[in-house]
Symmetry: C2
Subunit: 744 residues, 2 copies
């Protein structure tokens, strides 16, 4: 990160990236040597042709690390051109100064890295090297990533651990280091956590004075959900404007896999667009419905079976080994879930590929949508089963689980008469979800992968050293020198090898996790008022943990731009809708004795709750849009300023003589005129020009002498004429009276 | 309409407008002569100062007609400047050619008239004459209107009577004559009528084979409603793009009555904006809720009382005069409704004024919203009462109406035992609404006002002639000449006087009427499958009748621009939502024997219907947006082209030497750089420039010699180095095997 070289500790050898912009990992363990050599030569040639400086070192095992650096003047040109493109597509509203050869300083490391990313990944026609890792020709390029800025990351992490609340500056820093897509996640978790303070405080009060299933707390929670989702939409828009990424989706390049049906050249702008018909894509998207149903059935039946057998063993079965058997269903579930999920995910990927999106963004969006559905089912279905099936109907259903006795086998069964549904089971599950599950999830997501990654690195280092020992005997000294890290590069290369082995960071997963948390709160939060408090504490840790994961466990993600958290936004909407229904139902069912609940009154509650939700959402969204309209106004002002500049520039230009110039072509007005008489224009006699074209700007009145007479008719001044008339008319009006008096 | 002078029949004296652009009517019957003279002199002075040509003639009774004409070169300049303003605010995307003194030909009469309208009505600071009819200083100016283009209107009306379907050209013609706001109404009724063909055909099939209250027909109707509303949104957007009015609300001038709290100068564009805080406006808007409740109570109780007494008289009362008494409630209702409505309307107007909107557009929108609520209640409540109260619960409720007997009076009552609710009453009402009421409404709206207007004109002419006779004796010949119409202007002036007396055309009322019709269909259409057919036939006539009304009964409206049919769009959404619920409920209640309907199953039906509606609406809106994305793409392309032109212009400019020019100021990048280290920037020692500013584009590697060593380190070519490593590493990998073989 040469940009940062100006700051901080240059003496810290370990953290210096040695001017490396980008790293590729080339693995050749699975292919034969000749092919590997050809491929590698092509790789280096492609990179060099794209104007990149290339350096190579060996990686772990049978892999090479290719270090790339974009010469600074080329990089500056790319940054400038990228800004010009932003301008053309309306992302920014001031034209960057300069011509085609201008070089621009980047505003942030992420802007610089984005250009590097484009230089590496864009196709050759667009001026890149066309390296698509893990795909097609380059399927042996197994990793493609920029290096972490160790100094900045550790400093940021240290700062965050000392303070409780992030500021907008911190978000700007995230954006500067990792790009807008990642920054939007941190902005979201930050905004969400701040909002959580309200229900957390209400929850404490509710816990002390109201107890669970309170109508007041439930209503407050629903209102909070709606307000939060609507506010986030506005906040997201604000941030998109602040970060100059509003509408950034349009300028993304086509995916390599995109198939279009026709090329359309736009008559106005001259751009060639590769078009795939919208209705076709939509009809393909409709396959989402069978997919969702299939996922629901597959995951749902797994969950139902697990749930049923767990209930059976814990509540009905009373035989030997009960203590061990109780864990069997959960273990079986945990073992079969990954298989089913990975099958569904592969299906989802095939579907998304078939849907044929133009840009990677849209592709990711569609894929996230599908994983959102799967996540939704696995996360919420068990609790939904407990809340709406097991507790209310357990007494009727559980005895039927007793299939074994019916089938004639004779186990020691708990007596049916004894069976009582544990009504607190639902609440216990909610408490577990908001406390234990969050902590476990944190460990599973952050601690375990870190330990695994560290151990794996140690093992590889050990193996490499072993190989190194065997190898030394058999090669020339020159080659040996290549295979031994120079002493002052040692630590650097070790770090790069570790990063090359690390996972890719998927910000969508983190966003999804937060959405699921929001879903728990919206759907089941009313069962235990301390849920938001638990989530709030968890999120304090989660935010820092995620940043730790991002910087120390994962490869630095390419700084991709986005103007939203993506499809999860729709998910939040759906969750707050379902949350209202669920909260209303839970309060209705669990507040009083369950036996007294009537279906009709429950349905009435739900129906009323839904109307209230719809009206509330409309009101809140209208109100917030009215109140927080600052950023749209600023955006409008910027657009206005651009056009004003254009106008002034065009005036200056037309003022200076001898610049025939590239002015905007004005349309020919006469032929485009709307003929108000409809389809029958009066043809003017051939040859003779129509009276209109003859003297278009002439104020001599046309038509006939009548017009001229009308306008010049009165001999005196108009004003005087009017006054005379007023006198005459009001006299004649008033005159009626005196006259009649006279006559009398 | 000089623009049209080129076309058509110049010889037709009666239809010639004599080059008059605009007419004001000044009435002085209520004020004394001296004041009238002063006011009139001021009026003429203001108009002349604004550059208008003024001519005066006497009107009916104590009124003067002031004829205005904008000189053609001034008009051309105004048209050009209006286009430049459109460009600046992003309404159009090509900069009109020319400088400040360019005159432009207008594309259509309405564009020309809009500029005339601005010249008359805009405040003096904006370059107009500042005439605000019926308001403040000019409250004696009772009419302000352009003259109808008789030729074009009659030709269009004749054409339309011959064909069944309008084309987009006809809509363009309407737009060219009356402006976009009116054209949107015709586009709406046209689109709606075309869509009506589907349920009309389904309805005929349903009527023949399914009968009323069919589930299939009901579902089809609900789907149709949703599809129509979502399609119209897209169609509206398309038309707004076609007519270059997208987002036209932003450039409207402030209302004279607008009160702002502070003036904000935008730092980017330099515009001064007069701001009234959004939250304040929203909190004032919340008064809509008490208003709506009040309207509901006032109108609702009136309707309920009328309904109850009608039922009482027709079903319970059996005494003398029954035949006459039956009509009493309806008559009382019709007599008291206008009073209540006008009271509510005045309340609504006060509310809207208090809400303090910036532009006339927003003001009209808010006012329409309120009249929509009132209309909704008066139109739908009676039928809702019949459908959901009277028919299902009549048997229980009606006997209680029998208050008279209980109060001890002894009338001849129909026996209670005999009382049976007439279950077909609901269907009869729907049939009445879709057939008789539409025809009656047409008569009331179009025929009666026309007859009234014609008779009124005759009466005024007669009276004026009488006055003329009395007057002749008492004034000088010069004044007499002023008061007698010149023979060749006679017919023209007669027409202008008639137009000055005509009503203003309110397009909102016509749109509202269509929305109410759509509401009937959505809410009650399932009760009688032929409803859409009736509406379709009615709309054929309605469209022509409305055009007749617009051209022959009303003043020509000022050609105001709009990009939507306004708040009715939200109304359509609400109606299709309520329609789904209502259809589900009606089908559920009326399909089988009414006694068997259970509350819980009814609620379940409603609940399911609502979810289906929400999902359907989401799907339909997503699908239609995907499929009909042509116009947004075109708009985007236009924006792109603008920016490209700007870029090219700026290159040309910077290329030509000696034009320092008004180029876009580039921001200073260094200071705006995001400091990724958060809040602790490393201060560079004073005086010495930081290494960055020293050589920003230098590709000599900085930092330390280590970087240089890394990049230049390997003695041989990178590609060769890599190849050597591949050989070495794959050999050592493969080597393991042979070695062990060797050892073995």
């Amino acid at each position: 990160m040469s940009w940062l070289a100006g700051y901080g500790k240059l003496d810290d050898e370990e953290n210096d990236n040695l001017g490396v912009d980008w790293v590729l990992q080339y693995e050749f363990g699975d292919i034969d040597q000749a092919q590997a050599i050809t491929e590698f030569r092509t790789l280096v040639r492609d990179l060099t042709e794209a104007g990149l400086r290339v350096q190579v070192r060996h990686g772990h095992g049978s892999s090479l690390l290719v270090f790339l650096r974009v010469p600074r003047d080329q990089l500056g040109r790319m940054v400038h051109q990228s800004r010009v493109k932003d301008f053309l597509f309306g992302i920014i509203h001031t034209l960057p100064d300069g011509d085609e050869n201008t070089t621009a300083d980047s505003e942030s490391p992420s802007e610089e890295l984005r250009s590097v990313y484009h230089a590496v990944s864009w196709s050759k026609e667009l001026g890149g090297a066309g390296i698509t890792p893990n795909h097609g020709k380059w399927k042996n390029v197994t990793a493609s990533f920029p290096l972490h800025d160790q100094d900045a990351c550790s400093q940021l992490l240290r700062q965050w651990s000392r303070k409780t609340n992030l500021t907008i500056k911190d978000l700007d820093t995230i954006r500067a280091l990792f790009g807008e897509k990642v920054a939007f996640y941190y902005a979201f978790i930050h905004c969400y956590s701040l909002f959580l303070i309200v229900p957390a405080v209400l929850g404490i009060i509710g816990w002390l004075y109201l107890g669970p299933y309170s109508i007041v707390y439930g209503s407050a929670l629903c209102i909070w959900c709606v307000v939060f989702v609507e506010y986030w939409k506005i906040r997201e828009h604000d941030l998109a404007v602040r970060w100059n990424v509003k509408g950034v989706g349009v300028l993304k390049v086509n995916r390599a896999q995109y198939q279009w049906e026709k090329e359309v050249r736009d008559p106005v702008s001259g751009q060639v667009m590769k078009v795939f018909p919208g209705w076709k894509q939509f009809s393909r998207q409709l396959l989402l419905i069978p997919f969702a149903s299939m996922a629901a059935i597959a995951l749902g039946s797994l969950i139902v079976v697990t749930f049923a057998s767990e209930v059976f063993i814990s509540e009905v079965y009373n035989g030997k080994l009960k203590g061990y058997l109780e864990f069997v269903p959960t273990i079986l579930f945990s073992l079969s879930l990954p298989a089913i999920t990975s099958f569904l995910t592969s299906l989802a990927t095939r579907l998304t590929k078939y849907e044929n999106y133009r840009t990677q963004d849209l592709y990711d969006l569609a894929q996230t949508q599908k994983s959102f559905i799967m996540n939704f089912i696995t996360s919420f279905l068990p609790t939904i089963l407990t809340a709406y099936i097991y507790v209310p109907f357990g007494k009727q259903i559980v005895p039927h689980l007793d299939l074994l006795r019916r089938s004639g086998l004779n186990f020691d069964m708990a007596s049916h008469a004894e069976f009582e549904v544990d009504t607190s089971r639902f609440q216990q599950e909610v408490i577990y979800l908001s406390m234990t599950a969050q902590v476990l999830g944190f460990g599973e997501e952050i601690v375990i992968p870190y330990v695994k990654h560290v151990l794996w690195q140690k093992w590889r280092d050990y193996r490499d050293r072993q190989h190194g020992l065997t190898r030394q005997r058999s090669f020339s000294t020159a080659t040996d020198l290549l295979l031994i890290d120079p002493p002052d590069e040692g630590k650097f290369l070790k770090r790069v090898r570790s990063e090359a082995d690390a996972d890719e960071y998927k910000v969508e997963d983190d966003i999804l996790e937060m959405c699921v948390q929001f879903g728990y709160l919206a759907l089941f939060g009313v069962a235990w008022p301390l849920v938001p408090l638990g989530f709030l504490l968890n999120n304090w840790l989660e935010l820092r943990g995620d940043f730790f994961k991002l910087t120390l466990e994962c490869q630095r993600p390419p700084p991709i731009r986005a103007d939203s958290i993506g499809p999860c936004l729709l998910g939040l909407d759906v969750l707050s809708w379902l949350g209202t229904l669920s909260t209303a139902a839970i309060v209705h069912i669990y507040r009083g004795p369950m036996a007294e609940v009537k279906l009709s009154s429950l349905l009435l509650t739900l129906f009323v709750a839904e109307q209230a939700y719809l009206i509330l959402r409309f009101t809140v969204s209208t109100a917030l849009q009215k109140i927080f309209n600052g950023s749209s106004r600023r955006e409008e002002a910027q657009r206005y300023a651009l056009r004003k500049n254009f106008l002034e520039a065009s005036h200056t230009q037309s003022g200076s003589p001898g610049s025939p110039g590239s002015r905007v072509r004005q349309r020919v007005r006469f032929h485009e005129r709307v003929n108000v008489y409809g389809s029958e224009p009066t043809p003017s006699p051939d040859g003779s020009p129509s009276p209109e074209t003859e003297k278009p700007h002439d104020d001599v009145l046309r038509g006939s002498d009548r017009e001229a007479e009308f306008w010049n008719g009165l001999s005196c001044d108009t004003s005087d004429a009017g006054v005379k008339m007023i006198r005459a008319l009001s006299a004649s009006k008033v005159g009626d009276e005196p006259k009649s008096t006279k006559e009398a």
